[in-house]
Amino acid sequence: MKISADHDVCIGAGMCALNAPQVFDQSEDDGTVVLLDPEPPQELEQQVRRAVQMCPSGALKLQE
């Protein structure tokens, strides 16, 4: 499972940091996504999928 995050698209809603805090954080400056782990372990799959699904801006992409 690989994740990519697009900072230009991100609006800093924080749904990723809320749902999968081990994988995503938000920048102190503008709240946009900070990818802590671009290849998260399988046991976080459900949280990561929820984060991607709930992202309002489409900034997160999941590559299987």
Binding site: G12, G14, A17, L18, Q26, G31, T32, Q53, P56, G58
Partner: protein, 401 residues
Amino acid sequence: MTKAMPRPDAVTLPITRQTPFDPPGELGRWRDEAPLRRLAYPDGHLGWLATGYDAVRAVLGDPRFSNRVEIAHVPLRQMMVARDILRFPPGMFLRMDPPEHTRYRRLLTGQFTVRRMRLLEPRIEAIVADRLAEMAAAGPPADLVPAYALPIPSLVICELLGVPYRDHERFQRDSATLLALERSEKEKLAAFDDLFGYLGDLVRHKRDEPGDDLLSGLAASGELSHAELTGVALLLLVAGHETTANMIALGTFTLLRHPGQLAAVRDEPGVAERAVEELLRYLTIVQFGPTRTATEDVEIEGRTIRAGETVTLALAAANRDPARFDRPDELDVRRPVAAHLAFGHGVHQCLGQQLARTELRVALPALLRRFPGLRLAVPYDEVPMRTDMNIYGVHRLPVTW
């Protein structure tokens, strides 16, 4: 001048609710027939109404739809005054598109992150504890709106922005006037001018004597003109208390009608978080919009929305779409968390949503724990509902314990 013949299949936006906790019944019936239908707007425009979850989400997430106020048609005659007032002040980034919108939003998003809200949580708990102590000292009965639901988010947003809470009667009255449906243009303009003037003075003061708050930080950054900063302050102040206040009061009312679920929120650790999401979904208090206007022809769910046509997004109907949620018309505080649309979707999704979540997650269980015998002090059908406001809720919630 001849008027276009009304389309026989076009409907007008329903506003009458049959029950206090459900959106107007037509919305759900229409959604179950088709996710999009033609909507007749009061200015004569023939636009659209989206009721299906996928359709609403698709429109809100599509950059070919604009949120600019000057090209929008409004679905209710009563909302036309507010639209005209919102047209002129700078800094109203809610009704702008990227990249202008992005510039404003990026200045603010760092202040509303999940981490910032966790740091703020002890302060929210202290504010909640103060209100509970005051309610207990005053004794039952009480109106939950002024005693609890309104002051908590109002105090929190005041501290965050650096607005003196001692002025709350003034700005709460102004913001209520701005969000009411049946007010004259004169009344709304007076409320707007009063609030804009008040915040303009405050922002000027922040430039001279900055404090440790959001408006002082923005003033010091030099990124925004005086008028822009005043507009941003107005947007955040109004958005920051009307919405959460109504979720606290209406959420409490809803739980009082579901005693088993109320007990779960009160007694079972971990339920509060899911309950907040479920109440947001089930109640969806933004009741007459939002809208988006197509800037080019766009195909959504098999229908072509032409450039210039406005779509009204029925968030409440989308959040009860059986294609997306099991038993959508039932409240279930243990429901697995799913992507509801109560905060909207796309680039305009609520900036303060993590603040609202934190406030609700703290305030609802704390109230139920402090007053385990909490109950309505009037028959439930006598609770006055906010059917006349842009944000749904209760005008008053008489409770006893």
